[in-house]
């Protein structure tokens, strides 16, 4: 049984996993930094996004919309819609973490996919809390270092398109999407969303197709009859 293991051994295992996740997301942040600068955001804006937003899919979507010619507001709306899942993670984490006051204000910033996955997979609340903070700190550090590295590297490139950097965002989104497609329903939703976006695209301002897709998903979720 896991809980019979010495605490120190469990903790060092958690730290090892947290660092592994941090390094992987640091690499992912390098591509964010590159894509963001290519989309036309400044070095400071790119770094500010990673420090202040600190939720990968939303950041990628925001710069993806801007890079595709959409307004920053359409990008902001898309980023917020992608951030809604973090609210559900927060619900699951609040009882595990038991944080109040200033610690809750800090903890909230770390509520993302990876920290949630690391925290809920533990045998005790103490281990959950440790895993949450260890993963959060490792990720926050390496995510921001990676962003800075990626942004600095592409900052000086005169023609990003020649390097195929305009093809990087769809590849990044595909890598983010793939793990969510393991059943027929999400597959159908994904296909439908792609088709709807392309059908409305010629007729509405850039960025708006995403909001139309999000509205349709919300209506689908609200009115669909539940079948079990």
């Amino acid at each position: 049984m896991a809980s019979a293991r010495p605490a120190a051994e469990t903790r060092s295992g958690i730290v090892r996993d947290a660092l592994g996740i941090g390094v992987a997301s640091g690499a992912y942040a390098i591509s964010f930094g590159a894509i963001s600068t290519t989309a036309g955001l400044s070095l400071l804006q790119t770094v500010a996004l990673s420090v202040l937003m600190f939720t990968g899919a939303s950041q990628f979507a925001l710069v993806g919309v801007i890079g595709g010619g959409g307004s920053v507001w359409a990008g902001a709306a898309t980023a917020a819609l992608l951030g809604t899942r973090n609210a559900l993670y927060g619900v699951r984490l609040s009882s595990l973490l038991g944080v109040r006051g200033i610690r809750r204000v800090l903890a909230a910033h770390f509520v993302i996919d990876e920290t949630t996955a690391m925290a809920i997979a533990r045998d005790s609340h103490a281990d959950s809390r440790f895993a949450f903070w260890a993963t959060g700190i490792a990720l926050f550090t390496l995510w921001n270092l990676g962003t800075l590295a990626g942004a600095l590297a592409t900052h000086a490139i005169p023609d990003p398109k020649a390097l195929g950097l305009d093809a990087a965002p769809p590849a990044a989104f595909l890598a983010l999407l793939a793990p969510r497609l393991r059943a027929r329903k999400p597959m159908a939703i994904a296909l439908g969303a792609g088709v709807v976006a392309l059908v409305v695209l010629p007729f509405v301002p850039a960025g708006i197709p995403l909001l139309i897709v999000a509205t349709l998903v919300a209506l689908f979720g609200a009115f669909r009859r539940v079948s079990h």
Partner: protein, 99 residues
């Protein structure tokens, strides 16, 4: 203009995180919310892929980006690391533009 949009987006994303960890659990336990929220990333990521691959401005176009996406897809199927998937897409587009 750009800065205000970025900061509003950051505030919204943080607000959602803080709301989840602070609001009474029952508020977000509504089955419609639980059903819908996980579908949003799937739909939005897929729509973004479609738009960024098959369009330029308001026109639908087919160009090297389609091949780039296909190669990235193969990399995903082969379980390549994130950076390799992104680099394979970019490299495909760059190489095909040289031809």
């Amino acid at each position: 203009m750009v800065w205000s949009g970025l900061l509003v987006a950051c505030a919204a994303c943080y607000g959602l995180k803080l709301a989840g960890i602070s609001l009474p659990q029952a508020w977000l336990d509504d089955p419609r919310i639980q059903r819908t929220v996980p579908l949003l990333p799937v739909a939005l990521l897929s729509a973004l892929i479609a738009i960024l691959t098959f369009s330029t401005g308001h026109r639908l176009v087919l160009d090297v980006r389609v091949a780039a996406l296909a190669v990235a897809g193969v990399a995903v199927l082969l379980r390549a690391p994130f950076l390799v998937v992104v680099a394979s897409g970019a490299a495909t587009a760059a190489l095909l533009r040289l031809v």
